[in-house]
């Protein structure tokens, strides 16, 4: 049994970055919001500050609760089969200067306590912080990436994390489409379908094949150790521009809400490593309910 557990943990470790364990962290509850309704968004949220960590250091965070109870004994943990995902610290997009030196803040979401409850008796768990600045080899910024269409991007941080990224050109997407169509034709013919039906299938495949939008950037990414936490653009002045990442036909598509990346923009890849992903145990007790 022990051997099985060891093997299982090895498999898990191979698939994800193991966060560094740290000493317990001080937390300060700054707001309690008990939103009570039979409708949507009914939850208890504790807004907490981390006095020992600067806001500008934390690019993403998540809270892993092991215990949350009110003083009536009600369990406040939200049941879930999946671990919560790292949540991007969106305030980094618009804050600058001294504002980034303020304490980092996170939200802890739980089920509503009983109406009879007067306080949150205990909340215990771990706060995981993604702090890229702690590992210089975890951030790759590729300058003027837009002129590298069709090429593999080169950066020592990508190499250090076993990440391979290729900018995919329109011609390469078209070639992939044709290759896929040829495979579809061969497959249909092998199954004995008539010529007209095969043609319909191939045409349908071609029409349905992914077509990027005008402002999209298409990448081919290999990330066997699942290191990539996020990808953003960086403009010429260094301002971070968020992007949405979608998977399409094996490609990674970067989209923005409006802007097309300019020729002088950079592509920033943030990667999780054992040095920049830190888990802090924390305990909160006896928080009065509003």
């Amino acid at each position: 049994m022990k051997n099985t557990l060891v093997a299982l943990s090895l498999i898990l470790a191979a698939g994800a970055v193991e966060a560094q364990k740290a000493r317990p962290i001080d937390v300060k509850v700054v707001q309690v919001n008990d939103r009570r309704t039979k409708g949507h968004f009914s939850r208890l949220t504790l807004a907490v500050e981390l006095p020992s960590v600067k806001l500008g250091e934390v690019q993403a965070s998540r809270v892993l609760l092991t215990k949350a109870v009110d003083d009536s004994g009600a369990d406040l943990k939200i049941p879930s089969e999946d671990e919560p995902q790292l949540q991007t610290n969106s305030s980094l997009m618009y804050l600058e200067g001294d504002a980034l030196k303020k304490p980092a803040s996170i939200s802890i979401e739980m089920n509503n306590p009983a109406r009879d409850a007067t306080k949150v008796a205990e909340v215990r768990g771990e706060i995981e912080l993604f702090m890229p600045a702690r590992d210089p080899n975890s951030v790759a910024t590729i300058a003027k990436f837009m002129n590298q269409s069709g090429k593999a991007l080169s950066h020592k941080a990508l190499k250090a994390n076993g990440v391979e990224i290729t900018m995919v050109s329109a011609a390469q997407i078209e070639a992939e489409k044709k290759k896929g169509a040829a495979a579809k034709r061969k497959e249909a013919e092998a199954e004995g379908y008539g010529a007209e039906y095969v043609e319909t299938m191939v045409n349908s495949f071609m029409e349905m094949f992914f077509a990027p939008q005008e402002n999209d950037v298409v990448l081919r990414i290999k990330d066997p150790k699942k290191r990539i936490e996020s990808i953003t653009y960086v403009d010429a002045k260094g301002a971070v521009k968020p992007v949405m990442m979608n998977e399409e036909e094996g490609f990674t598509v970067l989209s923005t809400w409006s802007e097309k990346p300019a020729a002088d923009w950079g592509l920033r890849v943030n990667m999780k490593t054992a040095k920049n992903l830190v888990r802090y145990p924390f305990v909160i007790a006896d928080v009065a309910l509003p």
Binding site: V30, Q31, V32, N33, D34, R35, R36, T37, K38, G39, S42, A47, N112, R115, T118, A288, L289, P290
Partner: protein, 292 residues
Amino acid sequence: MRQVVAGAFVLLLGVTVHAQSGVKLELVDVVDDRISAGMMRGSLQLQANLTGTGLDRINAARLIVKEAKDDRGNDLLADREPPDFSARNVNAGILSVSLKQPPRSSRSVSVKGTIEMFVPARDPSTTLKVPNALGKLDAPINHKGLKAAKMSITPLSPAQYAKVKESQKITEADLEKIRAEGKAQGVDQKEIEMAIEFAQLMSEMDGPLPENAIILSGKEKDFDRIQSLEFLGSDGEPINITSRSSSTRGDDVLQVLQPSGEVPRNATMQLIIMTDKSKMSVPFELKNVPLP
């Protein structure tokens, strides 16, 4: 167990109120948003919808609360202006009542008030057709219907709009006034500064005027009475307005409409306005609404 469930069901049905008009008020949700600190204040909100007969004649409605108490006798009547009328085709027709936050130990609330409804069919003068509405810019529209309704609307040229916006820029004197008012009301200095920062941010958000924009100016009390404002094409059908934005400074309102194409200067403006005759109200009572 079944009896308990049946009992709860009867209790919920108890908050459905038959009003004299055949219109009923049905509770949809109760949101007790309890906040310990910070800029946001907690509130208790009851959300209800109108049911019953004749609803298709009602264009907009609002709930005016006259009495609100929890089961411990605490007065929950909030000290605020009555809400605006809410169009029936917005937010599924749901009407809201905002009350003071009851203590955590409260179990239920009871509310009395009136449902105010705007029924255009009760008064033909609610619909005004103003021909050639954009014929003369930067001067109040001269129309007997508007005069009879004691309303004034001025279509603006882009140049005049720019002048008005310039005159509305937040000055240091405005900021001092906000600070003084906030201080007098006992608002925390940090919160006052955050509110000022927000106001400045909002004032800087105005982008350039959209192409073919129609700009209307007037007083808030007049715009508040307008339930619908359209421009009619040569076929008599409303021209598609893709976006509407409105800004208020003091009593003055600026409204910018973005039509999908150019609107002829001689286009007819069609207004549906609220008149005393078009309004009707019926009492409502929500008894023993359980708090979540």
